[in-house]
């Protein structure tokens, strides 16, 4: 097989992986298409948020609520988790084209990603609790509804990504890093990086923009 080294956007397994590399083409391409759909979903929530900027209905606004240091921590956790997820994938790319490669390092990076995701969620939930304590619940105003929904949707995605990573870890332990799990890892990688990108948008528009 003389397949080109790059068959789809993002990290490719490479021709050394033979059939696995080939099989990734359709699988990852389709997942990208799905992510574009998800991107529109986030886009709609961003649009709703943008129209809600002044709809605080006399309730608290960004300047009353946003804790930039907590958000900075969350951003840090998520950015580092992108790195660790990338390391997990790189390990698969560089080692698992032959049989008998150790799965330890891959699992380590995978679980590190989950842990960092957990830290992110822990700080985010803390922020939501603090807002709730100040009466800034989504039932208070259109702006708060939009904020909770947008940031909450991202948090939900992070939770799904973590659950997915745990399932992958279990699957890899049960069945080894075979073609199926390699492709799942690649898709999960796209998903996790996507969450980072969405977060950067949230961080810039919602938090930094809100405090401007």
């Amino acid at each position: 097989m003389n397949s080109p080294p790059k068959l789809h956007p993002g990290l490719n397994l490479g021709p050394a992986h033979g059939d696995d590399h080939e099989a990734a083409e359709n699988s990852i391409f389709g997942f990208w298409v799905f992510m574009m759909s998800d991107l529109v979903t986030f886009g709609m929530f961003f649009a709703l948020y943008a129209t809600a900027l002044h709809a605080t209905a006399g309730g608290p606004g960004p300047k009353d609520l946003f804790d930039l240091s907590s958000v900075a921590w969350q951003t840090g956790f998520l950015l580092v988790s992108s790195l660790t997820s990338g390391l997990a994938l790189l390990h698969v790319k560089t080692h698992h084209h032959r049989s008998g490669a150790a799965i330890g390092p891959m699992l380590f990076w995978l679980l590190a990603t989950v842990a960092l995701g957990g830290l992110f969620l822990w700080r985010e939930i803390g922020d939501f609790q603090a807002m709730a304590a100040q009466g800034a619940l989504p039932t208070r105003s259109n702006w708060l509804s939009s904020l909770w929904a947008l940031v909450g949707l991202h948090g939900l995605h992070v939770s799904i990504g973590m659950l997915w990573a745990l399932v992958i870890a279990l699957g890899v332990l049960l069945r080894g890093v075979d073609q199926r799990w390699k492709l799942t890892l690649l898709r999960w990688g796209v998903f996790w990086h996507f969450l980072d990108i969405v977060w950067i948008a949230i961080f810039s528009f919602v938090y930094l923009g809100g405090l401007r």
């Binding site: 209905a57 006399g58 309730g59 039932t139």
Partner: protein, 311 residues
């Protein structure tokens, strides 16, 4: 000539028989658009049966070109004709939409009417004349009328087909509709946006009267019962016009005319949605739980109502 045609049709109540210049122009647009579109559509309508007949398989004398799949000249015509027609229509849309923009003020001097959509009736407030009417809009002949619309329930749409097209009315917001009244006569208006059980009954009468008749009607209402907050709260209860009259204890063929005792009523209705406080279902007109006594209007607005601006 226009005027006399309107006069002849002054009792009719639909778009095809307009009684005012705005609706008249809107009808003229309909006719114009149909004719112009026919340039592109007519040939297709004519050609379809002709081609189907001529090239039926049983007709062995007709030509047959199984591999023919393109012709440059034909292609140019096929793209060109729709493009030409659409270009003309687009210019027309550009001009007419600006010309008949319902927000465009039609005159310096105008009758201003504040309109509150309720379930399932319309309340017309005349702030300058200090009167209010339910399901009755009285306008002086030939005058420019400026309707400022809102609702105190779900979204509605006010339309007086023989005078002007429709415009949505939304709670906590205002929208605008300008039109010219025609010659003396009556026509009907209604809510065109579905609003639930009594929707089909939400119709009203538009009475175009002479200038003198208008002044007389306005003056006569100065001695009518007052429309204050309490009366308004009763009116706002959901019900068809008939049900409302029964609830108020008046005859079903009587008219509901008031002296506007609360000049700030319209602003306060708008303010209901801008207090920064949640609105319980008992306090929301149009809801089945609504109770007049639980629905006090805000005394003063905390926030300016969001105007739906026209840029």
């Amino acid at each position: 000539m226009f005027v006399s045609v309107f006069h002849l049709l002054a009792t009719a109540g639909n778009y095809l028989e307009p009684v005012g210049p705005i609706a008249g122009t809107e009808r003229a647009h309909l006719i114009k658009v149909i004719w112009v579109s026919m340039i592109a559509i007519g040939p297709a309508l004519l050609a379809t049966p002709l081609i189907l007949w001529r090239y039926r398989r049983s007709n062995a004398r007709a030509a047959y070109t199984p591999k023919w799949e393109g012709n440059r000249l034909l292609e140019i015509i096929m793209w060109g004709v729709p493009i030409a027609v659409v270009t003309w229509l687009s210019l027309h849309i550009w001009k007419s939409t600006h010309q008949l923009d319902p927000y465009r003020p039609l005159a310096e001097e105008a009758i201003t009417v504040q309109v509150v959509g309720l379930d399932w009736k319309w309340l017309f407030l005349y702030p300058d004349q200090g009167v209010a009417l339910v399901d009755e809009l009285i306008v002086p002949e030939g005058q420019a009328v400026h309707l400022i619309l809102t609702t105190d329930t779900v979204m509605q749409s006010l339309q007086i087909p023989a005078l002007a097209g429709q415009m949505y009315a939304m709670p906590g917001m205002t929208t605008h509709q300008w039109f010219f009244a025609g010659l003396p006569g009556e026509t009907r208006g209604f809510n065109a946006q579905f609003t639930g059980l009594g929707f089909s009954k939400q119709e009203f009468v538009v009475k175009t009267v002479t200038q003198a008749g208008f002044e007389e009607a306005m003056a006569s209402m100065q001695s009518a019962p007052p429309l204050d907050e309490a009366t308004y709260s009763k009116l706002a209860e959901r019900g068809t016009p008939t049900e409302t009259k029964l609830a108020l204890g008046i005859s079903t063929d009587a008219t509901l005319r008031f002296r506007l005792a609360e000049p700030q009523l319209f602003a306060r209705v708008l303010g209901r949605y801008h207090t920064g406080q949640p609105l319980a279902s008992e306090a929301q007109p149009g809801s089945a739980d609504y109770r007049a006594e639980a629905a006090a209007l805000p005394a003063a607005m905390n926030t300016m109502p969001m105007h739906h601006h026209h840029d």
